[in-house]
Amino acid sequence: MNNIRAVAGIVIKELYRRKDFYVLFILTILICLVMASVHIFNDAKIVRYLKEICLLLVWISSLVIAITTTARQIPGERENRTLFPLLAKPLTRTELLLGKFLGCWLACGLALLCFYTFFGLLAASREHHWPVINYLQAGGLHWLMLGVVIAATLLGSLVFAAPSSNATIAFVVVTGILLLGRHLNKVAVSLPEPRRSILYSLYYAIPHLELFDVRDLIIHDWPPIAWGVCGVVTLYAMAYATFFLIAACLVFRRRALN
């Protein structure tokens, strides 16, 4: 466990030493402040459009940070020739992989904390109230989703040739699931066999990342989600993340390092 924590710590330090997070965070702040300065029919209380823009930027930024940070972990170690020295230490491949996953996930968690704090302040400046439980749920679910994405990207980094191709494929797949995942069953119903079965199989196989996207509930001030339901999706996320990590460990064990 100490080895895993040590590797994770390095990944976290890498996040705040690189410019990615700061650029995205400052860009988000600037865009949101510009949007907030717009006067719409002299009404200073309009806030939902601002929340939607801010949350969209938070989601895009977090996915960029998660995927780009994770995609370059193992290939980066290989290119810098630090992989062999690392594995020469009493550190197994599985521990290395788990350390990378934990580091990326915690780093994304810290980034999300900053983003959601800014979002909360922005919304509170107009709404003058702070639905803390709602924001905690939204942030928590978002973080769980990123855990699944990071695990899948880590697997991809061992399967695909280059970090760029891994990142591109990860972005396309994640975006596709977020936009269309909920609707695959509706499309499947209207198709003839065997396409219906194929689509339904795909529908059940993919991790439904859109479950964790509760932006509409936050934007439109819906009440918090029942904690039992949050528990169910937490287990759902952990199951998929575990699956991807096990697959990554199996691939990494068999992969030649050179």
Binding site: I40, H208, F212, D213, H220, D221, W222
Partner: protein
Amino acid sequence: MVFCFGLAAGLDTWFQGWQGSRTSSADVLSVILGDGRRMFAQHFFLKADAYFHSGYYPTAFDNREAFQTPHMAADAGAVGEHNQGDETGFLGKPRDWIDKLSRRFYPAVHTHLDEGGAPGHAAELKDLGEGSEVREILPWLRLSVDLDPERVETYTVTAYWLRRRMGRVDEAETFLRDGLRANPNSYEILYELGRVCDENRHDPLRARNLWEAALSQWQKQQGDKPDADRFLFVEIISHLATLEKRQGDYEPALAHMELWKKYSPNPREVEKGIEELRQECRGAPGSGAATNGSPTRSGKTETHHRPEEAPQPSGNAGLPHVAAPETGALR
């Protein structure tokens, strides 16, 4: 080489004078998007309706029968409603456990912002309030208008919610006048301006002028069409009738109500109103029934063409031709 140079010079001169050139517009969005901005304008108009429903809105994969006419537009009286089906249940029953679970993570209940929206629903509609949360639709309507200033419906819907639910009459009138500048012959905007004058400014003379101008424009644009916009015609004529009745001008009121009855979806109700008005006419001495040169209009005599004296209807719609008033100066 010489030919290419000459061709380029000739085409450039022609392009500078071409009406479809985007460079003739100073608007950044027009230059970047061109006519594609109209598609985005429609998208943001629907986004405003999605906000009106606190996020509960059908996607392209759902049954949209109950949302063919945006509800915020139908509630504003800007357009006739063509919705069918159950607006509360377009999602249907959950198809599987994932579908059932996912409905806890996005808005899955029908609400309207002017009836409390999501928190109102959560509180079991205990406190409906005045629905000032409806302000949240304004940014998307504003954006829709910026992208397509010729989309008249956006002006009328926005103005309705501004003045009726938010009490921002000045902003509503200014917005409508901006719309009228972009669409000078729009009977919809003229009608809505008339409502502002009548319901908010309490200026019946200006309201009448605006509605008569709206009627005149409607006749010019819709009078000959088989699928004319009867909804707005009935709205304009009914408001005129009500105004004339309120002002004590019974003859024009009756004439308008006869037209209203002819094209109203509830002719019996209108017939009742006509009967009541006739009794008032008989009952009230010197009832102030309008003759030509009515003193009630503006303090000075003006002639007003009554609808029954107007020429016979043209076109195959059988809809009446209402002559434009001689005076109807819009301020």
